[in-house]
């Protein structure tokens, strides 16, 4: 018989991949530090990286705020993931749901999320609930559309084969459709998790006394620009971590598929 597939050339090592961007970052930080010191730029306009680091080290309540925001984002994201996957499974198995509900999922993507925060605040108050809901709403669309596409991308021949052996709907779902959709689901999680973080932060802008969003707003109004940089840096690190985590899981589940998934 002909040969099994030839292995792709090995990936560059982590060291080889990370060194160039790390060097570039270092370069930018050095130029930034030099410019702030040399041109005597005031601290409220642009703090030097060293000042941001100093503020970071001094900031005792940072982890409290970060923890709250992560908690809200994670709760919203989990809610969205559970409901989204369940709805997608329903859409794939029911004409009625597909025709009746799916259009509104698409419409939900057009809702200006910022505009409904005050509404949710009226309904649910200033606590965690509206933040969690915003995080859930913002991540719902990519999860549902992508998961639905994943369920639907099951091989028509395999579905024919399953039908020819009288497989039940549940067997088809569990043995074919769900495993087919897994790479799509993790691609959706990658996008939705960072979106849910954005949702939680934006929700905290409006009527909140804690969380990273609160930190961003208060430090900006008080011209504590160094604190603003600290908060932004934490958010960037969180977002990138979500992306990397689910990207890793996605790859491990889609070793058999060269290229699939969701591009936003």
């Amino acid at each position: 018989m002909s040969d099994p597939d030839v292995q792709a050339p090995s990936e560059p090592s982590a060291w080889e991949r990370l060194l160039p961007p790390a060097l570039f970052l270092l370069f930018v930080l050095v130029v930034w530090e030099g410019a702030v010191r040399g041109l005597e730029i005031p601290k409220w306009l642009l703090p030097a990286p060293s000042a941001v680091v100093a503020r970071f080290l001094k900031m005792k309540t940072l982890w409290y705020h970060t923890g709250l925001t992560v908690m809200e984002a994670a709760a919203g994201f989990s809610l969205s993931a559970c409901l989204g996957i369940a709805l997608s499974a329903g859409i794939v198995h029911s004409r009625f749901l597909e025709r009746g509900v799916f259009p509104y999922v698409v419409v939900s993507n057009a809702i200006p999320i910022i505009a409904i925060i005050p509404l949710l605040t009226i309904w649910f108050g200033f606590g965690f609930t509206p933040k969690i809901m915003i995080a859930a709403i913002i991540s719902f669309f990519p999860i549902v559309t992508n998961t639905t596409r994943g369920f639907k991308s099951a091989d028509a021949r395999v579905l024919d084969f399953m039908r020819s052996i009288n497989a039940t709907r549940w067997q088809v779902f569990a043995k074919v459709q769900f495993p087919t959709a897994l790479p799509f689901i993790f691609a959706a999680f990658r996008i939705a998790s960072s979106l849910s973080l954005v949702g939680a932060v934006v929700a905290e802008f409006y009527g909140s006394d804690r969380g990273l969003g609160f930190l961003v707003i208060t430090s900006a109004t008080q011209l504590q620009t160094d604190l603003l940089f600290v908060a932004i840096t934490v958010l960037v690190v969180l977002g990138v971590s979500c992306f990397a985590l689910f990207g890793r899981v996605e790859r491990s589940f889609s070793a058999w598929q060269v290229e699939q998934g969701y591009q936003r």
Binding site: M1, S2, D3, P4, D5, D155, R157, V158, D160, F161, M162, R163, S164, I165, N166, A167, Q171, K175, V176, P179, W256, Q257
Partner: protein, 273 residues
């Protein structure tokens, strides 16, 4: 030559004796019309055919002549618009519910996240074969097509021919009595195709099934089948049913005999080529 072909067509319309007693599959004036946005399209028109128990029947015809549709009608994957389909004197639907059909498609259609063995095991899981006997059955089948060493291999690690072998033994795993094959070898290169034809005949000699084998390859139909139902296109109908009188077991050398070529010629005439 033309007269000889006509004679063999006439001979073929009388069915082999075993088939006359108890046809395994009986199609009576079956027609299939598909609704399309540009109006109805008649894919199959008035096909009547009887297929005997343990017979190897080839459905031969050009691309788009409705032979795959006919196969799907037999296997109850596509409902006929007209006519009746009987399998063992009952409706095709009931035969499908008894898991009598083993389907093999042009593409292997394996699950990429399952190993070769796990793919063969899939129908056993679905049908509810006793779990303790599943592994042994799968290994026995993979061994018979020379793939035991690759049982842990995933589809992306197997060649096209290997994947199609897995698909064939997957369709045999629960011992269905009827094998429905839709151009199973047409995506393979010629050498691989010939090897798989040998494998299929060897399997058929052991697990003596009724096989309906769709193909557009004349030599393949002659080499494998007991009878060849020759179809024409638009709408699909059966022009002739030709018996293949080559002795069994078939051997690769037979491809070069005059008798073989005469059969090829007769089939080509029936196709109108």
């Amino acid at each position: 030559m033309r007269r000889e072909a006509a004679v063999s067509v006439q001979l073929a319309l009388g069915l082999p004796p075993e088939a006359r007693e108890a046809p395994c599959i009986r199609l009576h004036e079956v027609g299939v019309t598909f609704r399309t946005p540009r109006g109805p399209v008649e894919a199959v028109a008035e096909v009547s055919l009887e297929i005997g128990e343990r017979e190897f029947l080839a459905l031969l015809g050009p691309t788009g002549c409705g032979k795959s549709t006919l196969l799907r009608v037999i296997g109850d994957l596509t409902p006929p618009s007209r006519g009746q389909v009987e399998v063992r004197s009952g409706p095709a639907h009931a035969a499908r519910q008894r898991n009598e059909f083993g389907f093999v498609f042009q593409e292997p259609a394996l699950l990429p996240w399952r190993s070769a063995l796990e793919n063969v095991r899939l129908p056993l899981e679905v049908i509810g074969h006793p779990p303790e006997r599943r592994a042994a059955r799968c290994e026995e089948l993979l061994d018979r097509v020379g793939l035991l060493a690759f049982k842990e291999g995933f589809p992306h690690e197997l060649s096209g021919g290997m994947k199609q072998r897995v698909a064939i033994v997957r369709a045999l795993a629960w011992e269905p009595s009827i094998l429905l094959m839709d151009e199973p070898f047409s995506a393979l290169d010629e050498l691989t195709r010939n090897r798989l034809q040998e494998d299929l005949l060897a399997l058929w000699a052991v697990e003596h099934k009724t096989i309906v084998f769709v193909t557009h390859n004349i030599a393949e139909a002659v080499y494998l089948a007991d009878r060849i139902a020759v179809m024409s296109a638009r709408p699909g109908r059966i022009n002739a049913v030709l018996p293949v009188t080559l002795p069994r077991p078939r051997r690769p050398e037979m491809r070069d005999t005059v008798e073989f070529l005469e059969h090829v010629h007769a089939a080509r005439e029936a196709l109108g080529l």
